[in-house]
């Protein structure tokens, strides 16, 4: 969790909003630092987290999580974190007999299917348990990332439907939050990815967009973060609708500053 980002978003683990869909996207840069931020943020907020990790292994997230002050192994052991390791379990579909449909069942199907098994996995993972264990505050679904599902053969509409169902269950029914990462293809013409990105943008309450600098790579400024709050057009709203900051990623933190105000150039 990066305290400076919490300040920009005007939120803390104790008083985060519930029932929201947050969209993370990156263009010409790596936005995974935002995923690590939200993972540690919600674990510190004592939420039940279901993390669908399709890109990296568990140990990768664990190592970064330890730098940010959370222990994923312990969280998984005590039942706070349900971790679907996509890289490992994708192999299991082919080499192990499955009694019930596997969350990544679509990999076995010849034509582009739907993500109903994955949704059922998420719903099962986050459903409130009535037993007397320590109550978690609210459920959170984190997906890293959705663009890889397009590469694996699913259509953009299938992924949008999956997020729709997740939003209906997690955000509306269980009053939890959903955070997803999508890559923006940018110059490359990728219609399916554009439909996915625009469709999700319309469903989101908050959009965080990490962009590389237009002028290229820089040692002291790693990129630019655009924050867009999608709120109904209210005349009395005091907060800005959209903010832009530049950032530099360090070993254990990320520092944010206004455009052109990097300490290196002042």
């Amino acid at each position: 969790m990066f305290p400076e980002l919490n300040n920009l978003l005007n939120t803390t683990p104790d008083r985060a909003e519930q029932g929201k869909l947050t969209l993370l996207c990156d263009a010409k840069t790596d936005g995974s630092f935002l995923v690590h931020h939200f993972l540690s943020f919600y674990l510190k907020a004592n939420c039940k987290v279901c993390f669908v990790a399709l890109i990296q292994s568990f140990s990768h997230y664990n190592i970064v999580g330890q730098k940010l002050g959370v222990n994923l192994t312990m969280a998984r052991e005590r039942g706070q974190l349900v971790f679907l390791e996509g890289l490992k379990s994708a192999v299991d579909i082919f080499f192990q007999a499955q009694e019930k449909p596997h969350p990544l069942q679509f990999l076995r199907e010849a034509n582009a299917g739907n993500l109903k098994p994955l949704f059922e996995f998420v719903r099962e993972a986050l459903k409130p348990v009535d037993s007397g264990e320590a109550g978690w505050t609210y459920p959170v679904l984190l997906v890293d990332d959705l663009s890889v599902l397009l590469s694996l053969g699913l259509g953009a509409v299938a992924v949008l439907d999956f997020i729709h169902y997740c939003r209906a269950t997690v955000c509306w029914e269980l009053k939890g939050n959903v955070v997803v990462l999508v890559h923006d293809s940018g110059d490359v013409e990728d219609e399916e990815n554009d439909i996915l990105l625009n469709g999700l943008s319309h469903q989101s309450h908050l959009i965080l967009r990490a962009e590389g600098l237009a002028t290229g790579f820089c040692r002291d400024v790693h990129g630019q973060l655009r924050i867009l709050w999608r709120r109904p057009s209210q005349s009395t709203s005091q907060r800005d609708q959209s903010l832009t900051y530049q950032y530099k990623i360090q070993d254990r933190s990320v520092s944010f500053f206004a455009k052109g105000m990097s300490p290196a150039v002042l």
Partner: protein, 274 residues
């Protein structure tokens, strides 16, 4: 204009974008027009994944088609949130045909001759999701198109209204939605909030503090104004050219060749080496 959108029948398209969302305007218009609200909940399970048997047969399209065959009279407003969802899941032609049938019900009265109330269809469409083909098709079906935009936190709606046998009208209305979803029409962004130069700071004179003089005295200015440019075709010049020349001395060239000049007409420059 914005509050009387639903007075005309037919399809009203509400086009929004990621930056300027239209759902709250849709809710405000529904609140304004609805006396009695029937809510079809397709949010929780649109594709019938839960298979509980509660879902209406045929999904959202079936529900929409069922509205085509209504037997009760009286005006009705059908609000669709969103048309984009329908357009992504159904073929464009199917959706267009269904919308056309639903929104033109009042032109085909039932057999007993009693008039059917007006049908208004209000659809929310997300502009970035669809290509020009489907957008154009829906646009041509619509009687009214409202495109959302804005400047500096102030939302605006551009209303393009096509009435039969009348010229289309195009208006822009600034508005905001109050927390209770009522519509607040406004004048437009205030002029003071737009950035412009501060009138209290006098403009800087660039000709001051120079090492050379750029100013003209009065005499110099008069002389400059009286100067005629050499290639300017004034009326005096025109007169002079048109008037036939009196015995004006033509110009002569006086040339006295000296001893070394050898005027050879065939080689005047004396550089041919033959």
């Amino acid at each position: 204009m914005l509050d009387s959108l639903l007075a005309l029948g037919g399809l009203v398209l509400l086009r929004d974008s990621v930056e300027w969302e239209g759902r709250s305007l849709l809710k405000a218009l529904v609140k304004k027009s609805a006396l009695w609200l029937v809510y079809h909940d397709f949010f929780r399970d649109p594709l019938n994944w839960s298979k509980t048997g509660e879902a209406l047969p045929g999904g959202p399209l079936g529900a929409l088609r069922a509205m085509c065959n209504r037997t009760d009279l009286g005006p009705v407003t059908i609000a669709l949130d969103s048309l984009s969802w329908l357009l992504l899941h159904l073929p464009c032609t199917t959706l267009c045909q269904t919308l056309h049938t639903v929104s033109h019900q009042d032109s085909c009265p039932p057999g007993d001759g009693s008039p059917v109330g007006k049908v208004h269809v209000l659809g929310l469409l997300h502009e970035e999701l669809h290509g020009p083909g489907p957008m154009g098709a829906l646009s041509s079906l619509a009687q009214t198109e409202v495109t959302l935009g804005g400047i500096m936190g102030q939302a605006s709606a551009r209303i393009l209204c096509r009435r039969p046998r009348q010229r289309p009208t195009d208006q822009t209305q600034w508005f905001s939605i109050l927390p209770d979803f009522s519509l607040d029409l406004q004048e437009g962004p205030s002029i003071e909030s737009q950035p412009h130069s501060d009138p209290h700071i006098p403009p800087v004179d660039p000709t001051a503090h120079l090492t050379f003089n750029l100013h003209l005295s009065k005499k110099e200015r008069e002389a400059r104004d009286n100067l005629t440019l050499p290639f300017q075709f004034s009326s005096e010049k025109q007169e002079a050219l048109l008037r036939p020349r009196p015995s004006q001395a033509t110009s002569h060239i006086f040339y006295e060749p000296d001893a070394y000049d050898d005027l050879d007409q065939e080689d005047p420059d004396d550089d041919l080496d033959i």
